[in-house]
Structures are given as C-alpha cells and as structure tokens.
C-alpha cells in the first residue's frame, strides 16, 4: 500500500468532493454556457462540456477504492474481486461516441446557420416562433 492510497483512504470525503464535485461542476459550467452564451459555437462547446461532466460522473461512480482496472492481463487472471466496476466504463464509451455524434451534427447545423444568417448570434435565430 503506497502512500497515495493511504492519503486517499484518509481523505475519502475529499476525493468524493473532488471527483463528484468536478463532474457536477463540469455539468454546471456546460449548462451555464448553454444558457447564457450568445455564440452558437460556445453553446455547442457548453453541450460538450456537459457531456464530459456526465461521462466523468459515470466513471467516478464505477470506481472502487484500491481496485484495479477490469482487465485480466497476465498476472491478474484471478483478480476479479479486486477490479472496479466495468459496466460504467462500457456505458461511458457508448455515451462518448453518441456525444461526439451529436456534437458533429450540432457543428454542421452551426455552419449551416452561419451561412444563412451571416452571424452566429443565437438571439438572431428567431424567425420561427409563436
């Protein structure tokens, strides 16, 4: 047991704040950008940051103190009960890809909008209303 792990166990509370807190903060920041930034690309960036936050939350939830990556490399064949939860990691892989797809699509829409409106200000996009 190295010193890092000792520190970790002692300050588990702190780590919780660090990991969950950062993840939630990322969601927070992303949402803030989505809700207040006027530039379309910034809004899309906000969405990506949100995605990142959620993904981090996924990975954080799957973590188990002192456990290792869920890979049965040579020498770790019987270490199944010493591994972290692999399911959130698999899910996060899917979530990342989907996040990427949405971001790409969003950017293409931004390009399209910019071509038509000659501006990327989100407040200018209100020809459809009521």
């Amino acid at each position: 047991m190295n010193s890092f792990q000792e520190v970790f166990i002692r300050y588990r509370e702190l780590m919780e704040i660090a990991v969950y807190g950062v993840a939630i903060l990322l969601i927070f920041i992303g949402l803030y950008a989505v809700l207040t930034k006027k530039h379309l690309v910034k809004v899309v960036i906000g969405l990506s940051i949100m995605d990142a936050g959620v993904n981090l939350l996924f990975v954080g939830v799957g973590y188990i103190t002192n456990h290792t990556a869920p890979i049965f490399s040579p020498g770790y064949e019987d270490a199944a009960d010493k591994m972290v939860d692999p399911v959130p990691q698999a899910l996060v892989l899917t979530a990342i890809v989907i996040g990427f797809a949405v971001t790409a699509l969003a950017l293409s829409l931004v390009i399209r909008l910019y071509r038509h409106h000659k501006t990327a200000n989100i407040e200018q996009l209100n020809s459809l209303r009521w």
Partner: protein
C-alpha cells in the same frame, strides 16, 4: 323490417348521392329523394315496440321503435322527404350537389338515429353526426363568413354537446349503465343526487333548441343555409332538443318529480325571454329569411316554456307545437326559398307585390303565417290555447303568461310584415318577369300548409300520437278530443264549426275579390319616395319598407341595446386575444427554450416531494 334499415338506407344513400354526382349532376337530387322515400317506407314498416340491442366496445346500445321514436321520426322523415322534393328544383344548377345531398341525408340519418336511440351513447353519437353534418350545410353558401360567424354555430353546438358528454360519462360512472330506461329507473336525472347531470344535459338540449342566451347561432345559420335544408334545420333538428328535454323530464318524473321547482322556473323563464327576444328581433329584420329565423327562435321559446311547465297540458302543448312549428315554419322557409329562387332576393326593400306573380306561394304563406300567429281556425291556435291554459290553470305563472302573450301579439307585426313585404303592395317593374315557382317546389309547400289547415279542425290527429308518447314514457297525459278544446271551466270550442265557418267566409271573400277585380291606378315607384327636406344620396334605397315598424322600434327602443350576440362576440375576441398572448411563450429563442427546460427541472426538484411524494 328491422329498426336499422331506415338508418342504413339514409347513410348508404348519402354515399351513393355523393358519388353519383360525379356521373350525372341531374340524378343526384332524385336519387337522394328516392333514398329518403325508401327510408320513410322502411320506417313505416318497422313494427312498433321493436328493440335492437348492439354492443360496441362493451357498451350496450339500445334502439327502440317506441311511440316517441315514431313521433319524432316522422317529423324528421316527413320534413326530409318534403324538403328533398323541394330541393330537386331549388338546388338545380348549384355547385357541389353531391356534397349537399350526401350531407343532407346523413343529417337526416343522424336525426332519425337520435329519435330511435334509447341509450345515451348512441344518442350522443347520432347527435354529433347531426351536428357536424348540419354545420357542413350551414357553411354551404360560400359567402357566409366561415372564419368568424360560420364557426359560431358549431362552437355553440359543441358547448351543448360537450355538456351532454360530461353528463353522460358521469352518469355512466355513477349508475354503470347508459340505457335510458335504467337511468330513469335509477333516478339519474333527479336534481337531488347529482344535480349537474340533468343540468348539463339540459344545457346541451337548450343550445340545440336555441334558448336565450345560446340562441345567437340560430338566426345566421337558419338564414344562410340553403332554404331547402333550413326547413329541416329549423323544423326538425331543433325538435331534437325538445326530444332531449323530454327525456330529462321523463327521468325527473320517474324519480318522483322532486327538485323540479327551480328547474321549471328557470327553463320556463328562459323560454319566455327567448320568445320575446326572438319576436322583437324578427320585427325589425329587413330580410324575410332573417325574419323567419328569428321567428323560429321565438317559436322554440314557446315550446321550451311549455315543456318547462312539466304539466299534462303543457307537455301536450309542447309536442303539438313541435309538429305545428315543423309544418308552418317549414312551409314558410320554403316560401322564402321559392321567392329567393324566383325573384333573386328575399330583401323586403327590393321586392314587393309578388301576389299576382306567385299566387300559390302566397296562399301557402298566408295559411302558414296565420297558423304561426296562433289565430283560429288554423293549427297554431290550438297550440297557443293549450300553452296558455297550462300556464294559467296548472302552474299559475301569470307573469309568464303576460310575457308569452306579449310576444305572440307582437308576432302579428312580423307576420304581417312578412306577408306584406313580399306579396302585397305595388309590384315593381323588375319583378314583372317573376314566375310562379315550379310545381315540384309548390307541392311540399301545399302539403305543409294542409297540415296547418287540417290540424286547425282536427288537432286530435296530433294529440293521439303525442298522448302515446307521453303515456309511453310514463308522463302525465291530459284528456283530449279529436276536434274539441276544453278549458277548466267546462267551456268547449268545437273547432270544426269554427274552422268551416271561417273557411266559408274566406272562400266567399276570395270569390268576391276575384270577380270584382282590383281598381287600377297609376302608381309611382315605391322605391322613390321623396324625403322631407333631406337630400338623398344616389345609393339610398328610399323604399318605405325601410324602417317599417319604426314607431314600434322607437317605443321599445332600449330593449334592442341588449345584444347577446355582441357579448358573445366580445367574449370570443377576448379569448382569441388571450390565446394570442399566451402563445408568446414560444419566443423562438433557442436559449429561452433551454431555460424553460432547466426552470421546469428546478421547479420539479424543489417541489419534488410535494409532487411525487
């Protein structure tokens, strides 16, 4: 013959008529007529008392050919057949005939269905069919403002229909049945248990019967629908409201008649007010069609008042007037249609003196107007008599009698206006070419006029089926005689004597006038009467027909300021403005939309336990 045959014939005929129009436009009318006749035959052949029980979606539907079904069914089918005979010529050369006849037949089918339905589900289904088909006919004439006014009819009808629907689902919940007989048994329409069930049912029926303040849809619709359908519209469809009210009344009687007092009071007065309002409005109309339309509203007011008494004579009066109103108002709308078809307009300011051009039409108009005014010896008189008698001797509502009496006296004014405006007076140059209507149009008019004449002498012809209706549903039945009216003090009137005396006098006078001829004088145009000191502009039509009853209008002047129509229109405009304001929440800004989502989320999070706890 099974009970559904007549209905199937009508609805099938609608389909056939719709598609046959594409083949040959000339066949559409006769084919529709043939189907209506076939339906009438089928209806006649259906034995009394036959039941039909269906199950649809687990609801038991119940149709019955009882005396009420026959009574109202014949009003519907009789008028439909006559109106279709009339339509063949009246609608000749108009556009969208397939549409017209198909919807006409469906509408008749809906009304017939309402007449035979003895459970609330099929009653409502047919009621709605009748409503939307009649709406499609009401907007048939393209010039009618569909965007605003045309929609008024369907909105009011739907308010009524949905009030009914509310009552129906609630009744279904509380009593686990939709069958009328069971509901009557269970006292579902009593005001004691769930007062809103009968109340909202009656609201629904009152709207269809055009009772104040829900009458505003009626004048426009009656006047603007093609006259051949207005006949049915005013003559038969409004009677479906009467049928409905009768259904509720039956329930009240079955439940012992408790809690009836205020219902009787309110409905009776609403009927009285309707009668007065309709009459007063009719007096100042300048268009024969509008005059008749308002008059219809007023007549329905009498019927509703009669029903509201809920007494033996009152119920009899209501049923009797229902038939008579169908007869004379049907005939009068046909007259208006004939004049419109032949002379091009029904505006009093445009035409006058048609008597020589259209003598038969005039005869029908004369008979029907006399019957409408309730003057002996024609049928209308008997109905009025019964109404007064029930109000005076049975419910002692003397104020209401005064109101009704005022209204039916004032009705003389518009009755005269109608006759004079269209037929009497001096004939203008431009109507010299007008010809009498086709015999296909005159025939149904004469039949309807005959009903007024015959019932004037033998009202028992209608008393009998009406008494059957009342007896069949367990309502009180008065004594009745074939041609003798009784009153409480034992006096009696022999209607045959009265009728034949008046008839002989009428014939003698007619012969005298025909033989003597009328004096011929050089008259000036009625449309060029000099104004006292005022300078008329060229557009002014200076006929004396303008402001015909000016003094009368002046006398009751302020009453006209109460315009229910305006109130409803303001309400509608206010609602639309409100809706227009509400939809501004869709601002078009993507960020605002995202903000809505987050606000919604946060509200849910804050009140989480309250909402989902």
């Amino acid at each position: 013959m099974d009970i559904y045959v007549a209905l199937l014939i009508l609805f099938g005929g609608a389909l056939v008529a719709f598609f046959i129009d594409d083949l040959n436009r000339r066949w559409t009318g006769p084919v529709a007529l043939a189907f209506a006749l076939a339906a009438a035959v089928a209806f006649a052949l259906t034995p009394e008392g036959q039941h039909l029980r269906l199950s649809i979606l687990g609801f038991d539907l119940h149709w019955q050919q009882d005396s009420a079904a026959r009574f109202f069914g014949w009003i519907v089918l009789g008028l439909t057949v006559l109106a279709l005979i009339y339509s063949v010529k009246y609608m000749e050369g108009k556009a969208r005939l397939g549409y017209f006849y198909a919807v006409f037949l469906m509408s008749a089918g809906g009304m017939l269905g309402v007449s035979v339905s003895r459970d609330l589900i099929s009653f409502f289904v047919f009621w709605e069919i009748m409503t939307w088909t009649s709406f499609l006919l009401a907007i048939y004439n393209a010039y009618y403002g569909v965007e605003t006014k045309g929609i008024k009819y369907i909105i009011f009808s739907s308010i009524g229909a949905y009030a009914m629907l509310t009552a129906i689902v609630m009744a279904g919940h509380y009593y686990h049945t939709y069958d009328l007989a069971d509901l009557w048994q269970a006292g579902a329409f009593s005001f004691r248990s769930y007062w809103y069930i009968p109340a909202s049912l009656m609201l629904g029926f009152a709207v269809k019967a055009a009772v104040v303040p829900f009458h505003v849809w009626a004048p426009d619709v009656y006047a603007k629908t093609p006259m051949s359908f207005t006949t049915v519209f005013s003559g038969a469809m409004s009677k479906m409201g009467v049928l409905g009210l009768l259904v509720v009344l039956t329930g009240l009687y079955a439940g012992g008649g408790d809690g009836m007092f205020w219902f009787r009071w309110i409905l009776g007065w609403l009927g009285g007010i309707t009668a007065v309002a309709g009459t007063l409005q009719a007096i100042r109309q300048n268009d024969a069609k509008y005059l008749l339309a308002y008059s219809s509203v007023a007549q329905l007011g009498y019927i509703v008042t009669a029903l509201a008494t809920g007494t033996r004579l009152g119920l009899m009066a209501a049923l009797y007037l229902a038939v008579l109103h169908a007869a004379f108002k049907g005939a009068l709308f046909m007259v208006a249609g004939a004049v419109e078809k032949q002379a091009g307009t029904t505006d009093f300011r445009e035409i006058s003196g048609l008597i020589k051009r259209m003598p038969w039409t005039f005869f029908v108009a004369l008979v029907s107007v006399i019957s409408l005014a309730g003057v002996p010896p024609l049928g209308g008189f008997v109905g009025k008599w019964l109404l007064y008698e029930s109000l005076i001797t049975e419910t002692h509502s003397y104020f209401l009698v005064i109101v009704i009496f005022f209204s039916s006296t004032a009705a003389f004014l518009y009755a005269y206006r109608f006759l004079f405006g269209l037929f009497l007076g001096q004939a203008e140059e431009e109507i010299k070419q007008v010809k009498e209507a086709s015999w296909w149009m005159l025939l149904p008019m004469l039949v309807l006029a005959a009903v007024s004449i015959v019932t004037g002498m033998y009202p028992g012809l209608i008393f009998k089926p009406a008494a059957d209706v009342l007896a069949g549903w367990g309502l009180p039945v008065p004594d009745w005689h074939m041609s003798i009216l009784l009153n409480r003090w034992g006096n009696q009137v022999d209607l045959v004597t009265v009728g034949s005396t008046v008839g002989v006098v009428f014939v003698l006078v007619a012969i005298y006038i025909t033989l003597k001829g009328r004096k011929t004088t050089k008259w000036v145009s009625t449309k060029d009467i000099s104004t006292s000191g005022e300078i008329p502009s060229p557009q002014d039509n200076l006929t004396f027909q303008r402001g015909f009853f000016k003094p009368f209008e002046r006398a009751i002047g302020r009453l006209y300021d109460w315009d229910a129509n305006g109130i409803w229109e303001d309400l509608g405009a206010a609602l639309e403005a409100f809706f227009g304001f509400v939809r501004k929440i869709y601002t078009g800004n993507a960020q605002t939309y995202a903000l809505y989502v987050i606000v919604f989320l946060v509200v849910l999070l804050i009140f989480a336990r309250r909402i989902f706890g």
